[in-house]
């Protein structure tokens, strides 16, 4: 258990450092959410529903976490291939899940930069007050959202690898998930058929928990659903990762691009 925890921490820390040094990740997690937040601030300010700009800041921050998870985890195994480290990751006696999981959690953790930058940006330039209704709940809701998205990243990592052009999937899935999970738009405004899709996506519950902790409400249910969804993602991720590993060994395509 101690070895597994040590491996988790090392893998997570190494990947956070590695992603932090990537210009692309800094752009998509720290800079682009600020652009989206600014556009949204102006849209809400100019529109007939000024609402709470903290609502917008938190939504834009979660958009960054999703982007980071989507691009980071979606292309994770492919990147290991390009770097020539996939054979080592699979060849070591440690179960593959223990190697990949810290990496996917790291991609979601890097998304915390976006929450920080959008909150800071809003506070500095748009007078968005950073007053939390339930600070303790907030301290629980934010990591819960990150971990659940990281676990969802595990599913992405192990399924996207089966597609040849996983990056194009990532390009496709950024906006629709932002939309259906209600990060900036109330879900009630969307067509009814999108509702069940939103229920199985981690950002829906992640942002609900964070918003209810920050703006008022009972975030307990959302956090509990996050935990439940995370467990489901973990089970799916274990199975799909095993399937990928077996397929790659059978077809001898592990290192093939």
């Amino acid at each position: 258990m101690r070895r597994a925890l040590r491996l988790f921490y090392t893998g997570w820390f190494f990947n956070v450092k590695q992603l932090t040094l990537s210009g692309f990740f800094i752009l998509s997690t720290a800079v682009l959410p600020v652009f989206y937040a600014t556009i949204a601030y102006y849209m809400f300010r100019t529109g007939g529903r000024p609402g709470s700009l903290l609502y917008v800041s938190l939504g834009a921050g979660m958009m960054g976490i999703w982007s980071s998870t989507l691009f980071g985890s979606g292309g994770l195994i492919q990147w290991q291939r390009w770097q020539g480290t996939l054979e080592y990751a699979i060849g070591v006696p440690t179960p593959l899940i223990l190697v990949v999981l810290p990496m996917t959690i790291a991609t979601a953790s890097v998304g915390l930069y976006s929450v920080t930058t959008t909150l800071l940006w809003g506070w500095l330039f748009f007078d968005v007050p950073f007053h939390l209704a339930h600070p303790v709940w907030f301290a629980v809701a934010l990591p819960a959202a990150v971990v659940t998205l990281g676990l969802m990243g595990l599913v992405l990592a192990s399924t996207f690898v089966l597609a040849r052009n996983a990056n194009s999937f990532s390009n496709l899935l950024e906006y629709p998930v932002w939309l259906v999970t209600g990060l900036l738009v109330g879900i009630s405004l969307l067509p009814g058929w999108t509702r069940p899709i939103s229920w199985v996506l981690a950002p829906t519950w992640g942002i609900r928990g964070i918003r209810e902790a920050a703006l008022g409400g009972g975030p307990g249910i959302a956090i509990a659903v996050c935990a439940g969804l995370g467990a489901v993602y973990l089970v799916i991720g274990i199975f799909t990762l095993r399937y990928f590993e077996r397929l790659a060994r059978e077809r001898a395509t592990l290192a093939l691009r």
Partner: protein, 261 residues
């Protein structure tokens, strides 16, 4: 005659060889799927924020998405020569540089028009947006001019790609600068003065304004000033991009840094 061949055939081959998204399995999700959801995303935020009608967002985003092909396409077809290690061979030829450079823009302009047309189509199919048949030619003209202006800006990014290490970082940033400053989703007059000033010297701002006025019933003559300004911005960026291309070419020769990564 040779320059014309370089312009058309060279541009076409560069597009086929270096536009990495040309395969349908990348092109459809990236160039059509992404923009489709971008339009829906902002239209729904607009509805939620009670800002403007769907028409405002469909027109703004459908014109703006023409920039994707222009910016990323030019980054790939000019800057990409470095990555494929073919830059030295290209620059060793006596080919007319203007034809060589501009020929690469033509397929990207055509792509921008196609993507923009798709944006208008999905806006019409999925949102509360329509154009009368008489408005379509004027909108088409504006899209052509805007796509040209964006591709000109993309040429500049591509030229910078002859020297910088990560041209896609810059290309991504530019797309978001367009989204924020060009009145795509936020009325330009609600932005601060300095942001409006930046928007006025960027491609798209005048094109989007003109397209919105046409969609609201104005005639092409009424917006001709805006269309001419958009075209002039495109010409200026083309000239600047060409100068930058020649500058980087000569300085890279001097420093022997043509294909240094």
């Amino acid at each position: 005659m040779n320059s014309i061949r370089v312009f058309f055939i060279g541009g076409y081959l560069a597009y086929r060889g270096l536009f990495n998204w040309i395969h349908w399995s990348i092109y459809v999700p990236t160039m059509l799927g992404g923009p489709l959801f971008q339009i829906l995303f902002f239209a729904y935020i607009g509805r939620y924020a009670k800002l403007r009608s769907d028409e405002f967002f469909v027109v703004g985003n459908a014109v703006q998405i023409s920039a994707m092909g222009g910016i990323f396409g030019m980054a790939m077809t000019i800057g990409g020569e470095r990555w494929t290690q073919t830059l030295s061979s290209i620059l060793a030829t006596p080919a007319n540089r203007f034809a060589l450079f501009l020929g690469r823009a033509l397929p990207n302009i055509a792509n921008g028009i196609l993507v923009s047309a798709f944006g208008f189509l999905v806006g019409w199919l999925l949102l509360d947006f329509s154009l009368t048949p008489s408005e379509i030619p004027a909108i088409a003209l504006i899209v052509v001019v805007s796509s040209f202006a964006c591709t000109s800006f993309g040429m500049m990014i591509g030229a910078v790609g002859l020297r910088t290490r990560d041209v896609f970082f810059l290309a991504n940033l530019v797309i978001f600068i367009f989204l924020l400053f060009c009145g795509v989703n936020v009325p330009v007059d609600s932005l601060p003065g300095w942001a409006q000033a930046i928007g006025r010297v960027l491609p798209l701002t005048h094109g989007i304004d003109a397209a919105r006025q046409i969609a609201a019933g104005a005639s092409l003559g009424h917006v001709s000033g805006l269309v001419q300004t958009e075209a002039a911005i495109g010409v200026l960026y083309t000239a600047f991009a060409y100068a930058l291309f020649r500058f980087f070419e000569s300085s890279s020769r001097r420093a022997a840094a043509l294909e240094t990564m």
